[in-house]
Amino acid sequence: MPPARIEDDVIAAAVDRAVESWGSAPTQLLQVLRETQEPLGWLPAGALERIARALDVSIARVRGVVAFYSFLYAEPQGEYRVLFSDDVTDRMLGSGERLREMCERLWAEPGKPSADGLVSIDRTASIGLCDQGPSLLVNGRPLTRIDAARAAQVCELMLSRTPLAQWPAELFRIEDNVRRRGVLLDDPIRPGEGIRAAIARGEATGTGRQAMLDEIKQARLLGRGGAGFTTGVKWESCARQPVEPRIVVCNADEGEPGTFKDRLLLTRYADLVFEGMTVAAWGIGATRGFVYLRGEYRYLLDALRETLARRRREGLLGRGIAGRADFEFDVEIHVGAGSYVCGEASALVESLEGKRGIPRNRPPRLAEKGYLLLPTVVNNVESYCAAALIALHGAAWFCSQGTPKSSGTKLLSVSGDCERPGIYEYPFGVTVREVLEACGARDTIAVQAGGPSGVCLGQDEFDRRIAFEDIETGGAFVVFDGTRDMFEIGRHYAHFFADESCGFCTPCRVGTSLLRNLMDKIRDGKGSQHDLQTIEELGRLLARASHCGLGESAGRPLLGTLKRFRPAYERRLGSSAVEPAFDLDGALARARRMTGRDDPGAHLGDER
C-alpha cells in the first residue's frame, strides 16, 4: 500500500524522470505533474517543490495548477484509485448502487482514501463509455459494464492486492459498437493518400498549398465539436498570419457528457486523424502539431504514440513529408488531467501551455495568437478526419452528402434508453425519429442532443433534423424513456456544471453552484414557484453574461427540462410561494443532542 509518506529519493526520481521526458520549460508543467504522479499515486509537497525548482515557476503556480485539475492529487490516495464515471447514463445503468456496494465492501467513503490505504473511491465526470456503462477507471484504466457481479469481482481483486496487469482482460474490454457506417467510417484511407492528393492538387492547379485551403472552404466543412465554426475560414486566417511557426492542434478533449465518438476515432482511425492534421499543416504552413488527449483517455496514449512513430518511419511526419523538402510537420501528444472546460479551444491552449485551463478573451482569435501567441488552428478529432477525406476525394464529393448548409456526415454517440447504443454515422439532415428507430428506442419522452450544453428535445420535436441549420450537436444523443424523471436528469446536469466551472467569471462560478443548490432544494421538497423563477433568471444570466460558451450553456439543461417537463419540477414544490432553504427545526438538532432532549417542546413545529 502506498505509505502516506513517500521517501524523498523516490519522489526525486519520479520528478527527475518526468522532467527528463518532458523538458523543463514552464509549458510542460501539467505534463510533468501528471507523469510524476503516475508512479507515486499522488503529488507530495516535496514533489511540487522540486518541480517548481526544475521548471523555474513559483510554488503558488504549481499548487494552483494541481488544484485546478481533478486528476491531480495533493493528498495521499488509495493504492487503487477507483473513479466511477458519473454520466447520467451510468447512473441510469446503476452506477450509484455499484458505488455504494463497493464502498460498503471495502469500508470506504466516497472521496476519501479508505483507512487501510487500499482504495479511494470517487465519482468523476463522464469517461466516454456511455454505450457500455456503468464504467469506471481504476488507476487510469477503464472498466466497462460494471454490474453487481463485476463490481464484486473488482473488490476481490483489490482486496487480494492483485496487480492491475494481472486482472482478467475481459474487465477492460471496450466494444467499438459501430452501428451504422457512412463515408467516414467505411472508407479509412491508406496512410499518406490524403497528403499526396493534397500536394498533387496544388501542383495540378498551380496554387500550391492554397489549393488545400480552397478545397476545405468549398467543402463548407463546419467544426464537428459542436460549435460549427467554418473550418476553412479558421485555416485561412491562420495561414495569413506572417508569423511562424504556425501550430495545428487536435482537440481530443471529448468531455461533453454523452459523447464518445472520438474514443472510436482515436482507437480505430488514428491514422485518419493524423492524416487530417497533416493536410491541415500542409494548407496552413504549420510545422508543429499537438493532440490534446483528455486524461480519461490516457489509456490510448501508447497506441497513439506508436502510430505516430510508424508514420514518421513512413515519411508522413517529420522532415520531407511525402518527399517534399518544403514540408515539415510533427505531432506530440499532451494529456489532460480532468477538466471539462479544457474542451474549449482557448482553455485547451492555456492547458497546453501548462497552465490552469481558463478560456481566453477574444480578440485576438487563436488563429492570430494561439499557443505561445503563435498562429494556431484548433479542430475537433472528427473535423480532421473529414478534412483528410476532403483532401483525398475533393469538396464536390464531400458536399454530395448531407444538406446544403451542413455538408458531410456526423458521428452520433447514442446512449441511454435504447436497445443498441453506440456510434451511428449519418449524413446531416437525419431526423431524431430516424435515429431513435435505428437504435431501438421505445417509449422515448426526451432526447438530450449535444449533451447537457446542447438541447433537450421533447416528443413533438422528433421530426427535427440533426444539421447546423436545425439541431447543432457535437454528437451526443442521449435517449430517455417514460420511466425517467426529467427533473432528476436536469439536477444531475446542474451538478455537472457546478463541478466543472473553471471559476473565472462571476456568473458561471457562482451561478452554477446556486443552480445546483436550488435543484437540491427542490428535490428535498423545499422548492417553491419562486425558486423556479430564480432558476430561469439565473439560466438567462449565464447565457448572456458568461465568459465562454460553456458558461453560456450551463443553464440550458435546466431551462430545457423546465420548459418541456415543468410538471416533473412542480410536483416537488411545497405549497407556499416562497419556501426557505433553511431548516429552523434542523438547526436545533445539535442543541437537542447536547441537552439529551427530544420532546415536543424541543422542536419547532410547522406553525411558523
Binding site: E49, S58, I59, A60, R61, R63, G64, V66, A67, F68, S339, V341, R356, N361, P363, A498, D499, E500, S501, C502, G503, F504, C505, T506, P507, R509, V510, G511, T512, S513, L514, N517, T534, E537, L538, L541, R544, A545, S546, H547, A581, F582
Partner: protein, 247 residues
C-alpha cells in the same frame, strides 16, 4: 494627441464618446468621464474581464466593456433596465459567494463592492449565502489577509506580477473552489516576498488585503464612497500608466 474632431468615436447610451485606437469601451468611457460599473478593472492594468459587472450591450450582444476594443460608430447600451438588473444580480452573486458583513468591516466606505452595490440599488443579497469557511492569514506583522471578502478579481495577482515583479499572489482551484493563494513554501504571507509598500497591497478593491493598525484612521462616514457615490468618481478610474517604481 489628435484633436477631438479627428478622433473616432462611439455612442454610449446616446452620448458621443471619443477614443484612441487600442482603447477598450470602458477605458474610453472613463476617460470621457462616463461611468460604467466595474470591479475587476483597474486603470493601471490590462483588463481581463472576469467580474462581468461592466457587461454592456452592443450589436445585439452582451460584451464586457473592459475587454471589448472600441470601434468607430459602435452603439453601446449600458444604463438600460435589463443591463442594470443583470449587473445587480452579478453583484448579489459576489455578495453571497463570500462573507461580506459591511457593518463590521473596516473597509466599509472604501470598498468598491459595497459602493457598486449601493450605486446599483441593491437592497438585499437575494440568494442563499454560501457561508464559506476561509481562515484569515494574520501571520505578517504589517498586513492582514481576510480571504472571506475575496471577489477573485486578480488585481493583487496582476499587481504583484506586473508592477512589483514578485508574484506573491496566485489563484488555485476551480469553480467555487477557486481561491487566492500566497506564494511561499508555507503558504503564509509572513514567508512570502511581500512588502507593505507593494502595489499589490494597495490594489484590493474589497477588504482582503489590509494594512494592520490603520483600519479606522479615517472614521466611517468620512470615507471615499461615503462622500460621493462611485458613479460620480468615473474619472478616477480613467486609464493611466502604472506609477514609476522606486529603484
Amino acid at each position: 494627441m489628435s484633436d477631438a474632431e479627428s478622433r473616432p468615436s462611439f455612442t454610449l447610451d446616446g452620448v458621443e464618446v471619443p477614443f484612441d485606437p487600442g482603447q477598450t469601451v470602458l477605458q474610453a468611457a472613463l476617460a470621457a468621464g462616463q461611468y460604467i460599473p466595474h470591479l475587476c478593472y483597474h486603470p493601471e492594468f490590462k483588463p481581463h474581464g472576469s467580474c462581468k459587472v461592466c457587461t454592456v450591450r452592443t450589436g445585439g450582444h452582451a460584451a464586457t466593456s473592459c475587454t471589448t476594443p472600441a470601434r468607430a460608430g459602435m452603439v453601446v447600451e449600458s444604463e438600460t433596465e435589463e443591463v442594470v438588473a443583470e449587473r445587480r444580480m452579478l453583484v448579489q452573486l459576489l455578495f453571497v459567494e463570500g462573507n461580506h458583513f459591511c457593518p463590521s468591516c473596516e473597509k466599509s466606505g472604501h470598498c468598491k463592492l459595497q459602493a457598486v452595490a449601493y450605486d446599483l440599488g441593491m437592497t438585499s443579497p437575494r440568494f442563499d449565502h454560501f457561508f464559506p469557511d476561509r481562515p484569515v492569514d494574520a501571520s505578517h506583522p504589517e498586513i492582514l489577509l481576510d480571504f472571506n471578502r475575496c471577489i477573485l478579481c486578480e488585481l493583487c495577482v496582476r499587481a504583484s506580477a506586473e508592477v512589483d515583479g514578485k508574484q506573491v499572489f496566485a489563484l488555485a482551484g476551480r469553480g467555487m473552489g477557486k481561491h487566492l493563494v500566497v506564494n511561499s513554501a508555507s503558504g503564509l504571507l509572513r514567508d512570502s516576498a511581500v512588502a507593505a509598500t507593494d502595489k499589490a497591497v494597495d490594489v484590493c478593491p474589497v477588504g482582503v488585503i489590509l494594512r494592520k493598525r490603520v483600519g479606522f484612521a479615517v472614521p466611517v462616514g468620512q470615507r471615499r464612497f461615503d462622500e460621493r457615490p462611485i458613479s460620480a468618481q468615473a474619472s478616477d478610474y480613467a486609464p493611466r500608466p502604472a506609477p514609476p517604481r522606486d529603484p
